[in-house]
Every structure is written in C-alpha cells, then in structure tokens.
Amino acid sequence: MFTNQKQLLELSINGESYELAAACQETLLEVLRNRLGLTGTKEGCGTGECGSCTVLLEGEPVLACLLLAVDCENKRIETIEGQSLEGIMTPVQEAFLEKGAVQCGFCTPGMVMASTALLKRNPDPGREDIMESLEGHLCRCTGYNKIMESVQHAAKSYPEKK
C-alpha cells in the first residue's frame, strides 16, 4: 500500500493560474470545489450521469467529475465563475434569466456552460442541435421548455464573433 502521493500542478482556470498539490485520484470537480473554493460547478452524482459538473476544457464541454485534475495541466479550463468575470453577464446567462429558465438553479451552471460551448461551435443551432447538446443535463424543475427558449434566444442575440 502506498501513501497519498501528490503532484504539484498548475491549472489555468478562467484565465487565471492556480498552483496546488493534488493527489492523482482527485478529480477536477473536487479540486475546483474543495480546494479552490469555486463552488459554482456542482456535483449531482459524481459518476457522469447528470451534467451538473460540466466545465469547458479547451472550449469543449466535459464532465469535471470524471476528469483527473492531474490530467488538466496546460489546458484552458472555463467554469461558470469565469462567464461574468467583469460583472457583465453573457448573452446565454441573460437569456436564462429573461426567459425564466432558472428555478432551483442547481443544473444552471452546467446548462450555461454547455449552451455557451454550443453557440461558439454553432451560432445558429436548430432544436435538434440544442437537444443533442443538452441531453446530458438533467433538470427537474423547468421541464426544459424555458431552457430551450433561452438557448434559442441567446443564439439570436449572440454577437457574431465572440
């Protein structure tokens, strides 16, 4: 049996650099929440089945609960906290608010990150594209109707080059 070996890591999160010592088995989600105080990314299960822990890795949506922190060095990580760093909300965040797509809010960070990645990849998504991007995100409050509306609305108001 071996001890809790740690590795010195530098993580780039929302454009800022964080240095810490992490054990191999610590997930990115655990590091974000427990070590760095970035509690905006949520754990709804820890096994990749609900989408609450979605962050962007090099712009692509991934599940932080299944990523090892030590595998995330030298990669651009974006979390919900980085979406409105200067206090100005993004079109996706504004749309979620305006359209009433937020109720308990627990799924919201994951939904926002996945929707943001979608609109970067495809600024004019159809319903099928939106469903494909969000089918891994469980929401028990909204029935998804207003979430769909929000993404469609954000797409319309999204600046062309962001």
Binding site: F2, N4, Q5, A23, C24, Q25, E26, T27, E30, C45, G46, T47, G48, E49, G51, T54, L57, E60, P61, V62, L63, L66, L67, L68, V70, D71, A114, M131, E132, S133, E135, G136, H137
Partner: protein, 331 residues
C-alpha cells in the same frame, strides 16, 4: 462518490503501455475515463496503478493506398462522429458514435474504450456497501442475483460501436508485450459476460481498420432507449447493405445486434433472408420479423425477453429502411 487512491503512469508508446500493464501489479489502462472511473467510484474495481493514455497524441484517420480506413483507437467519440473521412467511408460508425451517451461523454470517451467496455447488469453497476454485499459471479462470487436459479452470469454487452464495426467487417490492431497482432472485430468478443473482451491483460487496441467497400451501399443504425439520450440501449441494431447496381437488389446485408447478450451478434437469419432480394418495404418488413431467429436475447435492465424480441424487430426495420433509403439517396 470518489475515486480510490492510485498512482498514474503515462506511457509514451503503446509498447510501453503494454509493458507497464504486464509488470505493474493491479494496473488498468485508461483512455477517456468515462467507463473506468464510474466503475471505480462504484467500488467495482480498484486498480492501484492507472496506465493513462490521456494526453497521448491521437493520429488523424488515414486512408491507405488500398482504400482501407485506419483509425486511432484513442479518437474521441465526438471526433469519430464528425470526421469527414469516417462520415464518407464508414458512415455507420459515425452514426453509431453519435448515439452514445451525451456530448460531454463523447468528448471524453474513446473509440477503443467503447469497444472494450465491461458488460453491465443492474445488480452489478451499483455500490455494494449495504445492498447485494455477497459478490455475484461477476464480482468473483458464486451466485447470480438476477436469475438466482441459474448458474451463470447474465450481464450484457451494450456498446453501440461494436455492432457497427461488425457490419463493416472491421479489424483491430493489438499491441501486447509479446508483439503486435491483428484480429477481426468479432474475435475481440468472447460472449462471456464475466470477461467479454478477449484481450490479454497486457494488450491494448491501437487501431481499428475498416476495409474498403465497392459498389452501392447504405448504412442504418437504430438504438432503442426510453428517453432518447444519456442511456444505454435496450437493443441496438447496425445495418450495412450492399446492392447491385440497380440500387435495389441486395447483394449482401450485414446486420449486427447489441445489448441483448454477452457480446454483439450477427443476425445471420436476416442476412440470409435478404440476400438477392429486392429491398422493398414488404421485404424489409418480413426480414425484420426474421431477426430474432438464432439470436440470443436476454432480459436486462428492466426489459423482458418478450419485449426485447418485439422491439428488436422494430429497430431492425428502422435500420434496414434507413440503409435502403441511403442507397437510393432518399432522406
């Protein structure tokens, strides 16, 4: 849920990976992590050393001079679904990849990983802290919870990509500490729910090779789920049909079925039925009724055998129809 403690080694080549798998006791290969890490969090395995392929360079799809498509097993499922080469040369594989899980999981999970997944069962895929503590066959024990009177394991193999590759007559390149070998895709599967993959402990899949196909052909992939996404199949069906130049007469049909037994199965009865027949709606309908013949269909995850049998016929019809329409160019 959290991961047990482990250390990581990062091999710089498949050969090094194979050597590490051989010499490191209680080690396990990981690529995307979307299959292994949940299992570890559920306490189903606890390797002390993870041989990680994360961060390894992934080669782009290549087309050999003979027209074969060679794919790096470390390709993400998103890349498989979107790759222009795969969409053009092996659309069935691209289709199947797009049906796996969710976008996030597809971004992380790999082609090789999907092919080598463990079999699944409700009684197996959960923590056993206070429920089902006595290990079942799959956990090294002496009984089965699902079918207690039985003397074997009933876990099922649920990969979406494997049936697609069966239809495409794919081969798999394997690197082990003993050297390199190539096998046909069906040789990768044992149909033993306890150990569904035939690889030796120190072997890793490096490439998937899909032969060229000449002449008119069409693909269809159908997957039955209760809610659409984020779900393993109740049953899945891959279809690859080659026709004569009239675009209607079936030259050869390859039909493979997954999720209803310990490994993917070719639906030989249907294939025989379709050979040389004109692919009309009636023929397709009749063919789909044939599909359960000679196939093993096992109840799983709340679905009964009777239901799966009927559902399979419907999925087969959908996949056959899609494949036929693809040949004609209709949408």
């Amino acid at each position: 849920m959290y991961l047990p403690r482990f250390m990581i080694e990062r091999p710089e080549s498949p050969e090094e990976a194979a050597t590490l798998l051989k010499v490191r006791k209680n080690s396990h290969l990981v690529a995307g992590g979307t299959e292994l890490f949940p299992r570890m969090k559920y306490g189903l395995c606890s390797p002390e050393i993870i041989i990680s392929l994360k961060g390894s360079r992934v080669s782009a799809p290549q087309i050999t001079p003979e027209g074969m498509l060679v794919l790096d097993a470390k390709m993400s499922l998103t890349a498989v679904n979107a790759s222009p080469e795969i969409v053009e040369k092996a659309p069935l594989l691209a289709m199947a990849a797009g049906r796996v899980a969710t976008r996030e999981i597809r971004n992380m999970g790999t082609l090789g990983g999907n092919l080598c997944q463990e079999t699944r069962c409700l009684y197996f895929n959960q923590k056993h802290t206070f429920q089902f503590r006595e290990p079942c066959f799959k956990r090294g024990g002496e009984a089965c919870y699902f079918i207690p009177k039985g003397n074997r394991c009933w876990a099922v193999f649920m990969s979406d990509l494997a049936p697609a590759l069966f239809c495409l007559d794919a081969s798999v390149n394997i690197v082990g500490s003993g050297g390199v070998r190539q096998i046909e895709i069906h040789e990768l599967y044992t149909h033993d729910p306890l150990k569904p993959i035939s690889l030796k402990p120190d072997e890793i899949i490096t490439k998937i090779i899909i032969p060229k196909n000449e002449g008119p052909s069409g693909s269809g992939f159908a997957k039955f789920t209760m809610r659409g996404g984020m779900e393993f199949a109740g049953v899945n069906v891959g279809v690859f049909v080659e026709t004569e130049n009239d675009l209607r007469t079936c030259k050869e049909a390859k039909v493979a079925v997954g999720a209803v037994s310990g490994g993917p199965q070719r639906a030989s009865a249907v294939e025989a039925f379709l050979k040389n027949k004109g692919l009309t709606d009636d023929v397709i309908h009749a063919a789909s009724r044939e599909i359960p013949e000679n196939l093993k269909i096992v109840p799983h995850h709340g679905y009964s055998k009777g239901y799966l049998t009927e559902c399979l016929k419907s999925q087969a019809k959908t996949a056959l129809t899609d494949a036929t329409n693809a040949i004609i160019g209709a949408t």
